[in-house]
Each structure stands twice: as structure tokens, then as C-alpha cells.
Symmetry: C2
Subunit: 392 residues, 2 copies
């Protein structure tokens, strides 16, 4: 049944804008304003199987409908006009052009960290989508599905030099590399499309978990054969020694307890999405600090999944000493000196100010006898130059 979709309809290299464009549409006469002759998706599914355009078969399972509607490529694609994506870097990297949408920005018209994390997830999945390796899961390859394996993220680091603003056109590059024997690294770069200036960079490491046993797994040979041809030895962030994040305890300065995952926080894997974790972390920092500071960097170390019934506690602790001591902060400092424009406040780039502020974070599940760590984090902040709204 999947054979019908082995060659999904993608328009090659140009995207024609035409009011009556129906390229790639399954050729069934649809009159959307006529109320009695609308075809159901079931009928369309029948037609998509090669039967006549008047097919009314209702025997089609939902998988074929899903395939018609999603059109996941089963072979490598070089361009995707709908996603505005293309394969770069000698055939193994991915670049996508995106516009910062109105609902992806906060009160100052700048993209939120959450939006950037969402775009990282989206471009990563679209990279796998284009590769022809995507099975019907959350980024898992065909070989992974055969072995009941899913991806889990173990570490994520993001540096934001400039926050994109509403309506700005961005280019996001992403690529993968080896990480130890059984892991994978995925990096991202966000650039302004208009100027080429780098706005943000990120790196992450991923390992495989058995979906049934929930235990970490070695990378099977068949999976290595799928993904290793895509590895590039290039890094978005140069970090010699990954920073160690101390574990907070009940003495932490700020504590937010009894956080409950909601239905809307669950993603396709039926887990609380990582982006939600970051929201819980940042919401624990006092409003007064958040109003006058802007996040410049974050490191996350994931320890454990969080399910929909868990009750979560968020702890955070500001650095007592504002001197810059450890690895991440030094690399951040270096970056700040090299990029004089880093001190962005609401779109205005002012004079160099190297002072930065750090917080240590912990999300944990509060248990009767002991607590279980979900994620440890470090955030770095710079002072905003103005707390006025971006416009008006």
C-alpha cells in the first residue's frame, strides 16, 4: 500500500505562485462551495490507490489517508518548496527559510526562547523528512522503528546573540555528527536572511532508548548505516570542557512546587515536551529580574522523562558571585567580545557590556521517599538596555 506514495509530489526547484495552482493535487473534482458533492477523505484515499476518480471505497485504513495527507518522502529529496527547505553541505546538511510569526514573539516583538526551541525541533524533523529515512514516528528512522528505538535528548545548549523580531526572515541550518560510540550530535545556526549575521547557535546530543523497556540502547549497525553517511564534523558551538551543573537541593532560593503537566503540554510521543521544561524553569525566576534581563545562553542536561501524571518541582538559584568562572561563561564572554552587537535590548544594539548573570536550575519529581531529577539547567542573562516596549 505504501508503494503508491514512494514518489511524493514535490515541485522541483521553483515554486510557482498562481491563483489557480493545483500542482500536486490529487485530481478529483472538488467543488468546495457545493454542499452535496464534496468527496470524503475516504473516497479520496480510494482514488489515491489508483482506482477511478469516482471511487467510493470505504475500506481504506487510516494509514493510507495519513500517507496521502503527510506524504513523507521514502527517498532523499533535495528541495521542499512547502517547507522552504533544501539540502546543503554536499548533500547532507539542511537549510530552511522561515519567517518569525506574530505568535512566536513576546511583548517586545522579539522571538521567545520557546519559539527558537520549537524551530530547532521543526528543522531537525524536516531534515530527517528530506533524508527519506523518516519512519512514522518522532524523528525515528526505519531501522530504529524495526528495533523499537526512539530518540531521547541528553543535552542541549543554546546561545542567543540577537533575538529575531516579528516578520524577520531567518535561515536555519542544521546538521548531525557523531557523539561517542552510540550517540548523535545535532547542531543549529540561525542567521538573518537579510544580512547573514548569526543570531543564535545550538548543539544537542541524542541517544537511543528502547520504546518498550525504556532503557538506553546501543546504536544497532543498521541504524548506524542509515545515519552515519549524514554526519558532518563541524560544530556550531566550540566548547572544550562541558560545564558541570551542580545539583540544587531544598535550600535553593526560589522554588515553584506542584507544577502539573496539562494535556496541551504533551507532544506526539505522549510526553511532556522539552520546551515545556524550559518554561517551567524560567517561570521560577522572579519577574523583576526577567523584566530587566534577556537570556543569552542556556544549558540543559536531561536525566529522566516526565509523564503526564507527575507532579513537578522547579528550583533555581542565582549565582552569588558575579565573576565569570566556568567554561560556558568564559566561552560566552569570548563570544561577547568578538561580537560587539551582542548586547541587544529590544532591537537596539548598544555599547559593549560584558557583565552577565547566571542561574542554576533543577526540575524534579517530588516523591514520598526520594526526589527524581528530570533536568538540570544553567541560564545566562544580560541586562536589557531598555525595558520599554519595542515599538510605540
Amino acid at each position: 500500500m505504501a508503494a503508491a506514495f514512494s514518489c511524493p509530489v514535490f515541485l522541483p526547484s521553483t515554486f510557482s505562485y498562481n491563483e489557480n495552482r493545483y500542482h500536486g493535487r490529487i485530481k478529483i473534482k472538488i467543488n468546495a462551495t457545493s454542499s452535496t458533492k464534496v468527496k470524503t477523505l475516504n473516497e479520496i484515499a480510494g482514488a489515491g490507490k489508483g482506482s477511478s476518480s469516482l471511487a467510493t471505497s470505504t475500506e481504506i485504513g487510516h494509514l493510507s489517508q495519513e500517507q496521502i495527507r503527510q506524504r513523507i518522502p521514502t527517498k532523499k529529496q533535495l528541495v521542499d518548496p512547502y517547507r522552504q527547505g533544501l539540502i546543503i553541505e554536499r548533500g547532507v546538511g539542511y537549510r530552511q527559510t522561515v519567517v518569525v510569526r506574530s505568535y512566536e514573539v513576546g511583548p517586545y516583538k522579539t522571538a521567545t526562547l520557546e519559539s527558537l526551541l520549537n524551530l530547532f525541533q521543526e528543522t531537525a524533523l524536516n531534515h530527517v523528512w528530506m533524508s527519506g529515512l523518516l519512519s512514522n514516528g518522532f524523528g525515528a528512522t526505519h531501522g530504529m522503528v524495526r528495533n523499537n528505538l526512539i530518540w531521547v535528548v541528553s543535552r542541549m545548549q543554546v546561545q542567543v546573540d540577537h533575538y529575531p523580531i516579528w516578520g524577520e526572515v531567518l535561515e536555519i541550518d542544521t546538521w548531525v555528527g557523531a557523539s561517542g560510540k552510540n550517540g548523535m550530535r545535532r547542531d543549529w545556526l540561525i542567521r538573518s536572511q537579510a544580512t547573514g549575521i548569526t543570531y543564535a547557535r545550538a548543539t544537542s546530543t541524542w541517544v537511543m532508548m528502547n520504546e518498550k523497556t525504556r532503557r538506553l540502547s546501543k546504536m544497532p549497525e543498521e541504524v548506524r548505516d542509515e545515519i552515519s553517511p549524514w554526519f558532518i564534523d563541524k560544530r556550531a558551538i566550540n566548547e572544550d570542557v562541558p560545564e558541570k551543573i551542580v545539583k540544587l537541593d531544598d535550600n535553593a532560593r526560589y522554588v515553584n512546587s506542584d507544577l502539573k503537566p496539562k494535556r496541551s503540554d504533551l507532544d506526539m510521543n505522549h510526553h511532556v515536551n522539552n520546551v515545556k521544561y524550559v518554561r517551567w524553569m524560567l517561570e521560577t525566576i522572579p519577574d523583576k529580574f526577567l523584566e530587566s534581563h534577556q537570556l543569552s545562553g542556556i544549558v540543559l542536561e536531561y536525566r529522566r522523562e516526565c509523564g503526564s501524571s507527575d507532579r513537578v518541582q522547579s528550583l533555581c538559584q542565582p549565582d552569588e558571585d558575579e565573576t565569570l568562572t566556568n567554561g560556558v561563561e568564559q566561552s560566552l564572554l569570548k563570544n561577547m567580545i568578538l561580537t560587539p552587537g551582542i548586547m541587544e535590548g529590544n532591537g537596539y544594539l548598544g555599547p559593549l557590556d560584558v557583565k552577565s548573570y547566571g542561574y542554576t536550575h533543577l526540575l524534579q519529581i517530588k516523591g514520598d521517599s526520594k526526589n527524581e531529577e528530570i533536568v538540570r539547567g544553567r541560564t545566562r542573562w544580560r541586562k536589557k538596555l531598555s525595558t520599554l516596549p519595542y515599538s510605540s
Copy 2:
């Protein structure tokens, strides 16, 4: 200063995919990997003003940077390759092609209502963006800004026949029309790009408010002159008599109190975004019902803005009697009979089942002496055919 941007660089009618594409980029030599010669955005802004490409002026205010980065058109544009948008309907309607992103879907891989509402907001703003009328606010025209006016939504109605799934390509049409003497109607249609089938339809009414006095305003002549040439007399939803939504009181079956807007809930207008209101409404419905039902329609009547310091209470009440009595439900029922595929459960379209379930909603600010209504709502639901995840 705005003159420099009166002719934003948009690529006409074709979108060339080229790895080294720099069309539309401000021609400044940028070497993103070289660490010492990166130009700051201030320097770019200087260059954008017509000075030499080596300009290092730092006197540029943030407005010019914002203009370079946003490139809001000051004249009508017919196509926007970055937004995949084009002007249709004899020059006054707008169509945008979008792909359902991985973070816009819930656990069943179907787009959430929140995502649809976000896409409505986005396409509406992009419509104004293309018109050349957009000033530097949240959809306000130049004439509105001159009169200190902003848009406020007074009513919103959405019908969802099919939920789009992750990766699906959609076409969203939106247009405006007159609503009484001082209001504007905005409608939307969401279609599958592959089949042309309509998935969702929506209509909304908008009035103008004085930004300073917070009082509703008549539509000034200069604003009418701007927007009335864009009016189309066409409706996405035919509704003869708008349903009256009863006001709930403390006897409502389900009550969720002490809801607090968070920083991340504020939009560009520094208000709690409408989408957040819907989340608060839906979260008050018991999980057990939400797990087995899918939202098919919603009507919202906005009464009052909600600020960041308000404490909000969400009430809801299921219909006692499942017979379909009022206007909206009858039009919904009619729609269901005409579109046999409406009973979608997780992508599977099963046999016709006209039974639907209704809830009445109220969000209010709990005051010491009296409560203040924020929004009244009605939701309609259909039973899911399966509560299993979409895939696996």
C-alpha cells in the same frame, strides 16, 4: 528615514532555491565564520541608509534597524515568497500555504485548536502586511495609528470539520468585509492543499478602540477609505441568527479559579492573547471528556480585556439536554449531514454520527464586590471513534 524601505526586496513570482542564494540581502560582505570582522547590526543599519557599505555609524536609532529587519511593505505586494502568500480574489483576498509543524500538533498528531487560532492571527496580519497598509502595530493601519486606534476582537466563531495532521500542507484563505457601520468582519477557510477539501472555517468581528482612553471608537473616514476597498461580500460560515450565549454564575458545574496570566502569555499588545483564553476555557472541561471527544466548533464573545495582573476564573457547564436546539447547533448539524466525513477520529473517518455535545463557558475576573466578564463561549464536541494514538 522610512523612504529607504518603501520598496522592500521581494522576489517576484518564483522562489529560487540555491545554496548560495543571497537575493535580497543587503550587500555587505559578511563572513559569518570569521570571528573578528562581523558587522554589527548598527553598522548594517548605517549601510542601509545609503551610506557606503563600510559605514560604521552608530547613530542609527532602533527604528531603522527594525525596518531593515522587518521590511514591512509600504506598497501593496501581490506575492511574498517567504510567507508563501499571495493576493487572490481580484486583488483583495489573501492565500497562504503553510505546513503543519511538529510542535503545532497534540498527542494524536492532529493540529490543536490553539494552532489553528494562531494561524488565523498570522494570516490576518500577513494579509494586512501585503496590503501596504500595515503600520508598526498589531495589524493597525497607518490611519488607525494616526488616530491612536487599535483593533479589538468582539466575536470569533470556528468550525473544524477535519483536523490537519503533522506535515500536511494547507491553504489558508482570509478576507475582510463590512460589519455594521463601524466594524469589520474577517473570515478564514482552511483547505487541504493535496485534495482541496475544506478542513475548517472561521469568522470574526472587529471594532476599533482608542489606545489611550480604552473606549470603543467610530471608524474614522480616513480608515474607512483605507480598508473598505478590501471588503468582499462573502462568508465562510452562513449563520442567520447569531446564537445567544447565556451567562454562567457560581452554580456552574466546573470552576477553575485563580488562573494567573504569565509573562509568556502576553502578546505584542502587552495583553493576554486570545489563544490563552481558549486554553483556560478548555482546561476547565474534565480530562475524561476531553480524552474521548474532539472539538467541532467554538463561539467566543469578548467583553473586556485581561491585563497581566488580573486573577481569572474559568467556569463551564455541559448541556443538560443533548437535543440540538439553538442556531449554531442547527447550522452545525446541517453541516455534518452535508459533509459525511466530519466524524473524524484521529485521522480515521468513520460512519455518520450526528450526536454532538455542548458546553457553555465563562471567563471572568473575580472582584471584591463584583465580577467582570472577559469572554463568554460555547463549544461543540463530537465523540472520537478511537482514543488510540494516531500512529504506532
